[in-house]
């Protein structure tokens, strides 16, 4: 919109008037307003996610116990269990890969290489779709397979030592002992959750308690919100890729700035995942 101007006012001396990018009629950050807008939008979006993650932290700390991630997330497609964190690691790789292909698309854009841009954007879109597919599978497993919902969280952890009085037909056998902090999953059979009885060290007979509700709700909510960002990213990528194919950005002659902007968004989605991954799967 505005071309660069250098001050040429002979009257002006002193620090305030040395020609500089802050003296007007210039882009002080050497970035177009469109790119700045994208950055500041991402900044505000980061605060939205921060709001969620900080709330997550507060709710988690307000609970006497919290499910163990490497116990909760330990299934793989094909009926494999006891594979802690493997699936989510793969998901993370997919997202990193799609970020890398995005960087390549931007680089090709800087060179003005139309077919390169389209090619790498295509890979990025594929990456995004695979990630969404993985997430769909993960959700399905938790909801259908393990009966975790936003209302009920069958993943708990013991708050005292004890001995099971009955088995669940899966991993737990009657007579098996456990210690404080041991994770468990309350299985859902025939229309109800099967809370196992156990005897604690004081000799009282108790039932496995449900885990904190907030766990399931926060998990679905925050990963869902992230997934929504991935989804809209894919849609935007698709539109921009199609535009790039028509040669629209080639004609604008601004080095495919649009690709760069959507690239920023896409990396931001990856960035958010770093923290989602940290708080839900690692800590």
């Amino acid at each position: 919109m505005i071309t660069e101007h250098v001050m040429t006012d002979e009257h002006n001396h002193g620090t305030h008037d040395t020609p500089g990018s802050w003296n007007g009629a210039a882009e002080p950050f050497k970035a177009s307003y469109g790119k700045l807008m994208m950055w500041y939008f991402l900044l505000s979006d980061a605060f939205t996610f921060a709001g969620f993650l900080i709330s997550y932290g507060a709710l988690r700390l307000s609970m006497p116990s919290w499910p163990l991630p490497d116990f909760v997330f330990s299934t793989l497609p094909g009926g494999i269990t006891h594979a802690p964190l493997i699936f989510v690691t793969i998901m993370t790789f997919v997202l990193i890969l799609s970020s890398v292909t995005m960087v390549r698309a931007v680089q090709e854009g800087h060179r003005g290489n139309q077919s390169g841009v389209v090619k790498w954007m295509f890979f990025t879109i594929v990456g995004g779709l695979i990630f969404l597919g993985c997430q769909a599978w993960e959700w399905t497993t938790l909801i259908k397979g393990e009966s975790m919902t936003v209302w009920t969280n069958p993943f708990g952890r013991h708050i005292e030592d004890g001995v099971y009085l009955e088995g669940d037909g899966h991993d737990i056998k009657a007579g098996q002992a456990f210690t404080v902090g041991a994770p468990y999953l309350i299985h859902y059979h025939d229309g109800h959750y099967n809370q196992l009885k156990y005897k604690n060290s004081a000799g009282e007979v108790k039932e496995q308690a449900f885990g904190p509700k907030a766990f399931g709700a926060l998990f679905f909510f925050i990963t869902g919100f992230h997934g929504f960002h991935v989804f809209s990213g894919v849609v935007f990528l698709l539109i921009i890729m199609l535009n790039a194919m028509t040669g629209l950005y080639q004609n604008r002659g601004n080095h495919y700035e649009m690709v760069e902007k959507i690239g920023l968004y896409w990396h931001f989605v990856d960035l958010v995942w770093v923290f989602v991954f940290l708080v839900f799967y690692l800590l």
């Binding site: 990018s21 002080p28 950050f29 050497k30 970035a31 700045l36 950055w39 500041y40 991402l42 900044l43 980061a46 605060f47 921060a50 900080i54 709330s55 932290g57 507060a58 709710l59 988690r60 700390l61 307000s62 609970m63 006497p64 163990l68 991630p69 490497d70 802690p84 964190l85 690691t89 993370t92 790789f93 990193i96 890969l97 970020s99 890398v100 995005m102 960087v103 390549r104 680089q107 800087h110 060179r111 690239g263 920023l264 990396h267 931001f268 990856d270 960035l271 770093v274 923290f275 991954f277 940290l278 799967y281 690692l282 800590l283």
Partner: protein, 143 residues
């Protein structure tokens, strides 16, 4: 600014780096929780700071290399990054509040238990329950 060939290399390096850091994080989680070596458990104060710093490093790398922040004017990166400092106090305050809800809930439970057991009469039983069950920080209730 890097030239085209150099930046292609950075991309490749970035891929390896992010992958490796992620693997280390997962490895810490698995080893520390006894999935690799039976019975080995690392304390949380060791695992958490490690995993958090590695994640922060990943975040730094994504922002600085992939999002090109390193090559932007300093003012731009400051204007985007400085505001996130505001979140630090938010994090501290919310975390503190979370822990406070935890302890106050426990306290209420404890008080209810006293009320049920002894109708609030016996101060002896209250202090017993207090010291044995609840990690509360404040003095037990006396009615």
């Amino acid at each position: 600014m890097l030239n085209y060939e150099e930046s292609k290399k950075v991309v490749f390096k970035g891929l390896i780096l992010l992958a490796v850091v992620t693997l280390i994080e997962v490895a810490i989680a698995l080893i520390g929780n006894g999935h690799i070596i039976e019975g080995m458990h690392w304390p949380k104060w060791l695992m958490y700071p490690l995993m958090i710093s590695l994640s922060l490093y990943k975040a730094y790398f994504i922002v600085y290399e992939f999002m090109h922040m390193r090559y932007e004017v300093r003012g731009l990166s400051l204007s985007v990054l400085m505001p996130t400092v505001l979140l630090v106090w938010g994090l501290i305050a919310f975390a503190n509040e979370g822990m406070h809800w935890n302890t106050s809930r426990a306290q209420i439970k404890e008080k209810n238990a006293i009320g049920l057991k002894s109708d609030g009469q016996s101060s002896k039983s209250s202090s017993e329950i207090h010291s044995s069950e609840v990690p509360a920080t404040e003095a037990p209730a006396t009615h």
